[in-house]
């Protein structure tokens, strides 16, 4: 039915993901929107914003799927203030959550749905009470819109009892309800939920798309640094927005320095200085970032090894000369084993048993030295 020359249908070009837009628009124009969608793909590619766009389409578009961004209904949906559109996000337990925290988090998401909801590092999930509230809401007639849309962001954080409660709604949804589940970890979702939703697969965004979104939502950020931020985030918008508040280039440079010093392990004093500075903060965020940049570095090495013509975008494109020198130096190194050791360090840092971070990094430095110097 579709030819290569056929133009893809789209309802909001600013949402990117033309393939997904085409899939949704086809269903909308044929009047056969399913009761439940499952949007899945890598973290930080704009799925939650896309889901909000779908709610705008369902409630605010004309018959042809055209949206007026200044329309009052579209504005309400976008600001997460439409009474027939519910946006659910994982939150800390009620006992550990102040009402202001929730309100502020929701306000931030409404202003920038590409961002991560910030609850100060507390463990977040979607509990059964939230799903019960949704079910309560589902039993009423429409308030003012055309169709109720319940968006469940990070649906893989649904507690098992909440997921089972949601299943009931998925099995017998009211006619005027559309559920949109959003997840970056589709395999953590119950198969019974997955099988009841129409899936839409998302891919990571291109660098330019990330830069455009970063520019639009962080007008004060230095535009010159945005392409680097986009790449170093692994093309993940959530991480890129986290990076805006940190000097990540410096942490990345520290990671390269750590690697250099690990190769020359006899200069132990210098490597200890990096480790101490990196693990000084209690939240260990800098330590996690350093490990993340080490992983990106070795992924780039693998890309360079397999694509010497550099056809694939590199995360550390601004460090191409260093990467190439490093590649020459580590021609025989077992990159897979190195990545495995870094992954082990990531797991140890995130382990709730609070391993000593300095020991984790020292252990990693020794392992890297062994792999890189043979």
């Amino acid at each position: 039915m579709s030819s290569a020359a056929e133009t893809l249908l789209s309802f909001d070009p600013s949402l990117h993901h033309p393939g997904a837009q085409h899939q949704v628009m086809q269903a909308f124009l044929s009047g056969r929107l399913p009761h439940a969608y499952l949007l899945h793909g890598p973290e930080g590619c704009g799925k939650a914003r896309f889901a909000i766009g779908m709610a705008e389409l369902v409630n605010g578009a004309d018959d042809q799927g055209r949206l007026d961004p200044n329309d009052a209904v579209v504005r309400k949906v976008r600001h997460l203030q439409h009474p027939d559109v519910q946006f659910i996000l994982p939150t800390p337990a009620q006992s550990n959550l102040k009402e202001d925290e929730l309100r502020d988090a929701r306000r931030e998401i409404a202003a920038n749905p590409y961002k991560r909801a910030d609850f100060g590092g507390k463990n977040t999930f979607i509990g059964i009470d939230t799903i019960r509230e949704l079910k309560h809401e589902a039993r009423f007639k429409l308030y003012e819109g055309r169709r109720k849309v319940f968006i469940i962001s990070e649906a893989d954080t649904l507690r098992i009892e909440a997921a089972n409660a949601l299943l009931k709604l998925l099995e017998e949804p009211p006619d005027n309800l559309m559920l949109i589940l959003v997840t970056a970890n589709i395999h953590r979702m119950l198969p019974t939920i997955r099988s009841r939703c129409q899936t839409v697969r998302f891919s990571r965004l291109e660098e330019q798309a990330l830069v455009d979104i970063l520019k639009a939502h962080a007008p004060k950020a230095d535009p010159a640094t945005l392409p680097s931020l986009a790449r170093l985030s692994g093309f993940n918008l959530k991480r890129a927005f986290d990076f805006l508040n940190r000097d990540v280039i410096k942490i990345r440079d520290n990671a390269i320095d750590f690697l250099r010093k690990a190769v020359l392990l006899h200069r132990g004093q210098e490597i200890m200085q990096i480790i101490e500075a990196t693990t000084a903060r209690r939240d260990l965020e800098e330590a996690r970032l350093l490990l993340w940049f080490l992983l990106l570095w070795f992924q780039d090495l693998l890309h360079l090894r397999s694509n010497p013509d550099k056809s694939q975008p590199l995360y550390n494109a601004d460090q191409l000369t260093t990467l190439e020198r490093f590649m020459g130096f580590t021609a025989n190194a077992d990159i897979a084993a190195i990545v495995w050791d870094i992954e082990k360090a990531v797991q140890a840092i995130n382990d709730p048993r609070n391993y000593n971070p300095q020991l984790i990094f020292t252990d990693l430095a020794i392992a890297l030295h062994r792999h890189l110097r043979g």
Binding site: K76, F140, N176
Partner: protein, 372 residues
Amino acid sequence: MKFSIRRDEFYEALQKVVSVIPQRSTISMTQNILLSAHGGQLELMTTDLEITMVSHVTAEIATEGDIAIPGRLVHDIVRELPNVMLSFSADASYRAELRSDFGQYKIGGENPSDFPRKPALDSVREITLPNEVLKRLIDKSIFACSHDELRPALTGVLFELGENSLRTVATDGHRLATLFYRSDSLPREDFSAILSTRALNFVMRNLEADGVTVIGFGPSHAVAHMGPTRLFARLIDERYVNYNKVIPPETNFDLTVDTSTLLASVKRVSLFSNPITAQVLLRLMPNRMEIQAEDIDYGGEAREEIECNYEGDEFVIGFNSRYLQDLLRHIDAPQVIFHLIRPDFAVLANPGDQPENEDQLMLLMPIRLENV
């Protein structure tokens, strides 16, 4: 937007609407109160998306306009003020200021166009009911509503308009309560809507003892006009069960008993019933009835005998005592008439006497008994 108003008048209007503001909501705008100053009237609106309250008060309006401002904050400020003249103003960026003789209070407002719209009541069907009748229509049915969210329709009360009549129905699958009201002032058309118990409890709380209330039924909301306040209730979007199917058209025996005597007796005896089943047994004999309960686990037992008017077969029938007490509490007449078929069949009950234009009927499913 700019208006002046006396504190007492403003506070009275605020009090009517503030209770609807939810403690928490996924739609943060519902924490606000929408103030609309137009044509010499100040309109106040709050909603939790299930219930929407709109109140009006006269104010001196210098500049017309609308604003959404934090509802509880405004209510709390005004509550603490004496009855002085208040001046309220808001600029184009929704920064509001409330001035009194004591000082000024700056309040951050929000764009009113983001506030949920006032429910549209196109093709509304209006009925007018005396407050006393409306209260009875709700009160005599609402207690039988279900709490089971899996059956949304049963969590509300069915309002069924017929030819010059209105019937309210509620059931949870174990019991059913209905009150039928007939009046020439009611329209001659068939229509039904399911209202949530929460909305109806709000109506009951806000109803004046005397007077009449106009109720309108729209496609998605019902509205009750109560003086200067209007209460919009969102309708439940479900088909109601065919309750007529469970009402037996004919019964075998009638039993008439003093309502308060039976209620008091059931209350006493049920203290000895098993807390899980709450079962009480009624042993029916000619012109007397034995009420008994026992809790085998703890060895408690109670037995009472009362007089009644009964000429049918002797048999024993069991009920959940809580349901039986609920039923008896909602009979206003001194005597209650039970209509029975068999011990394992639905029992009907209605007051011994009731107003000419009313027909109250309740149905109670008995507990299946073994070895009695």
